[in-house]
Symmetry: C2
């Protein structure tokens, strides 16, 4: 990574690189509910959503795509002032501030779009890095789903619902 | 209502009667996030979901359909052992135990299908009748989304996340 990579909206031809990240993250079964065996086709159908959803990427001039995010309303109609987002960083290029860079950009974008809050429905409680990142960015745990996640190696663990006003 | 109405799986030709209930419930904008102006087509697309979702109805021999429920996994893959459900009772025939009858049947069905818990993501905090019903059926509030719902007459109010093991 040379310099600050660009955070930009994804284009349809970014999908192969997004899929590479998506699959590498989901296959471990420890941070997302999607099955580790999820096909490329199904992954595309749950991530590359039409408007009002937006897909963002972190694009490095040398290394290519490093991370992706999906921003969308958390609920329909009378709940669509609260955003939901998902974030995936290439596991081989994590820990270099890429997740935080993307999260800050997506939070700013959500505010720009008029969302009044952001909510995550399924933060795996044992994903300490993610929980710490969200807390450092102003999110609080507003709910806990007991044993809501079948962790690939730890068995059933809690899911956290995290929220912050924008 | 004469005798105990039947609780049964919905059939495709139940849709017109389900829509009548659905629209009467959603149009008031005080209990569900779907827009009061939701079209019949959109309503059908969010309620009459394919398997593994199931749609149930309360069918009275004299009065026809009195209520409907949608039962489905609350999350994909590694979270699909927790069920989600939505319930709608014809507002003109509410308060006669129809909601409880249907809720008890759907909870039993969820257990039969192997779900280990049931979770509601968006119980409107001012919907006291619903909150009381769910508490009486063993649900606890496990989370609160501050001002997550734009109530048609009260303005922004909290959404409750309710949960019970099965």
């Amino acid at each position: 990574m040379n310099g600050v990579p660009a955070v930009r909206l994804a284009q349809p031809d970014d999908w192969p690189a997004i899929w590479s990240i998506w699959h590498a993250v989901v296959r471990t079964g420890d941070t997302y509910v999607w099955l580790p065996s999820t096909s490329e086709r199904d992954a595309r159908s749950v991530w590359m959503l039409p408007p009002p959803a937006e897909v963002w990427v972190v694009d490095d001039a040398v290394d290519g795509l490093l991370a992706t995010a999906l921003l969308k309303p958390n609920q329909a109609g009378l709940g669509d002032h609260v955003a939901n987002a998902g974030f995936m960083v290439d596991p081989e290029r994590n820990g270099r501030g890429v997740g935080r860079l993307l999260a800050e950009a997506v939070i700013a974008r959500a505010r720009e779009l008029g969302y009044e809050a952001m909510q995550y429905n399924a933060v795996v409680s044992t994903n300490e890095r993610a929980v710490a990142l969200w807390r450092s960015l102003g999110f609080d745990v507003v709910g806990t789903i007991p044993l809501g996640f079948r962790h690939a190696t730890l068995g059933p663990v809690d899911l956290l619902i995290m929220h912050r006003p924008l």
